[in-house]
């Protein structure tokens, strides 16, 4: 007979707590390291000036502009498509073979590696459609990458709208589409917003899909149309950290860029969590 069941429970629980603390520790160490090393670099000039002296000085303004352009470009494609697809799947689709196929496609798109999206964007948008390396090609590539996230979060939001909402509206003689448009969708807005915010974070942070679809190492001017190449925050950090003209000298800029990127993404995540919390209990009847 080994340990008593009380003792083994104590040991097991301590190990579980230890594991959880380790995971929490990873989060704290990574955040703490980037924040403590990066915050000294960030000031107004860092955020509003272009890099100069072979990228060893100056700021990251063009990269911020590029990242914002990608967010706007990809969201304006993925958001309408994603919401419409989710409405179909949750409100109309029966259990048919086509529905199964659509669900399967969404799952697989969600699991496809981002570098594969990059290859695909290169083959389809840059080469086949002839958009060249540009904001347009990169935005479309990123739009496909976040499409599954938007569909899934919208579906989840629609599912949580109580059936009574729909039934009462339909009972009043309102048509199905009007019910969706004026009753179901407004109730699902917080969930859809949450999903969109998380997608924006994803777009801001992805590097592999923009490597071959238009991201540039350095551009003397800001992009002037969707056909221009662009600088972007994650690519900027990658280039400075691995292939810059002087990796050691630009370390502070690297920390600063990493922190800006982290703050954007974490800020968006926190907003998403707060929105979810705020509305979680509002829908219950």
């Amino acid at each position: 007979m080994g340990l008593s069941s009380k003792t083994s429970e104590k040991i097991a629980f301590s190990l579980l707590i230890l594991a959880t603390l380790t995971v929490v520790g990873f989060v704290l160490i990574i955040l703490g390291y980037i924040i403590s090393n990066g915050y000294g670099t960030i000031d107004i000039e860092f955020l509003t000036q272009a890099p100069n002296r072979m990228m060893t000085q100056g700021g990251i303004y063009p990269a911020i502009v590029g990242t914002i352009a990608l967010i706007i470009g990809s969201m304006s494609v993925a958001l309408p498509i994603g919401i419409m697809a989710a409405i179909y799947l949750n409100e109309y689709a029966g259990e048919t073979r086509t529905t199964w196929l659509i669900e399967m496609a969404i799952n697989n798109l969600a699991g496809t590696p981002s570098v594969v999206f990059g290859l695909f964007g290169l083959a389809l948008f840059v080469k086949y459609f002839g958009f060249g390396p540009s904001i347009l090609s990169a935005s479309l590539t990123l739009a496909l990458l976040i499409l599954p996230i938007i569909i899934r979060s919208t579906e989840e939001a629609l599912i949580t709208v109580p059936k009574e909402y729909r039934d009462s509206s339909l009972a009043l003689g309102v048509s199905k589409w009007q019910t969706i448009r004026y009753v179901v969708l407004p109730a699902a807005i917080p969930g859809i917003v949450t999903g969109s915010i998380l997608s924006i974070g994803r777009v801001a942070g992805e590097t592999a899909p923009i490597l071959f679809t238009g991201a540039a190492y350095f551009l003397p001017r800001l992009p002037d149309s969707i056909h221009s190449q662009f600088m972007a925050l994650p690519y900027h950090l990658f280039v400075l950290a691995t292939a810059g003209t002087n990796i050691a000298k630009t370390r502070p800029i690297q920390y600063g860029t990493a922190l800006v990127l982290l703050l954007i993404v974490l800020g968006l995540n926190i907003v998403a969590v707060l929105i979810r919390r705020h509305y979680r209990n509002k829908l219950k009847i």
């Binding site: 697809a85 801001a204 990493a258």
Partner: protein, 296 residues
């Protein structure tokens, strides 16, 4: 009235059409990857590609052997999974079974922060912190090793594993839990004899998705694994540099002339990557379906 019916039908058709776009995109990805990938096999046979031991894309005697890259991906992923699965499942058990609900409510979004951190930031952290640390600890010529990649990748896979395992564990019906406790089992006995077995298929789905995420990761690995395209030894290869399939595509695509063998070879590697993740997703999906059925 008639008009209204047409309008309703019309809207439904539009929505249906838009949702089939997802299938079209998946189809196009297959088409465009395979179309360019297949062109490699005019020069190199499929067998040579799959079993070739050397990846020399730019030497005079070009060789496009997938094996070093495939084994590189496999080694790094295996290391990551060995490290993150026990840690992730243990945290999931703690969060859903032991922690006070208020603590759990704080821990869940906190761990999900990891899922939000961009991979290039993980890579940067790995490069400036973990790489020098590995070099000093193991007294290596370079700290950019497979193990470094595994650790970073393991951390990145944690949120997937924790979140999905936690879902699986908390969806085990509480009647099972109460029944076990009523029979006099301790909480720990209940957890590992009743709850874990009941949640096992959900947990395996989590592990599969973690594997999928790990095998597809690009930027982090490119920055911390050293990118040497040689077949890794086992287990000593953990302390050597390796090159994954993803890193190869990302590293070389920028410099390769379009329409060359090398260009097509990278699409062939991309196709293999796509097929692997596709299969992993199908498996995870079918496991998940099974487990939903069981719990109902």
């Amino acid at each position: 009235m008639f008009n209204r019916i047409y309008k309703e039908k019309g809207i439904e058709s539009v929505l249906f059409f838009v949702s089939t776009l997802t299938v079209a995109v998946l189809f196009l990805i297959c088409l465009f990857l395979f179309r360019d990938g297949i062109l490699l096999f005019k020069e190199t046979s499929l067998l040579d590609f799959l079993t070739g031991r050397f990846w020399y894309p730019t030497s005079v005697n070009k060789q496009f052997g997938l094996l070093p890259l495939f084994l590189g991906s496999l080694l790094v992923t295996a290391g990551a999974i060995l490290f993150s699965v026990p840690l992730g499942i243990a945290s999931a058990i703690y969060i859903s079974e032991i922690a006070h609900p208020k603590v759990a409510d704080f821990l869940k979004p906190f761990i999900e922060i990891l899922a939000g951190i961009p991979s290039v930031v993980f890579g940067f952290f790995g490069l400036v912190v973990l790489v020098p640390f590995m070099q000093n600890t193991f007294n290596l010529p370079t700290g950019q090793t497979a193990l470094t990649g595994s650790i970073m990748l393991g951390i990145m896979a944690l949120p997937t594993i924790v979140t999905i395992s936690e879902d699986a564990i908390s969806s085990v019906p509480s009647t099972l839990r109460q029944g076990s406790l009523a029979l006099g089992a301790t909480r720990w006995q209940t957890i590992y004899k009743v709850i874990i077995p009941a949640a096992l298929s959900g947990i395996s789905a989590a592990v599969m998705l973690g594997v999928g995420r790990a095998i597809g990761e690009t930027m982090t690995l490119m920055m911390v694994t050293g990118n040497a395209a040689i077949i890794p030894s086992f287990p000593g290869g953990f302390l050597d540099p390796v090159r994954t399939m993803t890193a190869t595509i990302a590293l070389e695509m920028g410099e390769v002339p379009q329409g060359s063998d090398h260009f097509y070879a990278l699409f062939a590697v991309g196709s293999v990557l796509f097929i692997i993740t596709f299969l992993i997703n199908l498996i995870a999906d079918s496991i998940k379906k099974k487990y939903r059925f069981k719990v109902d």
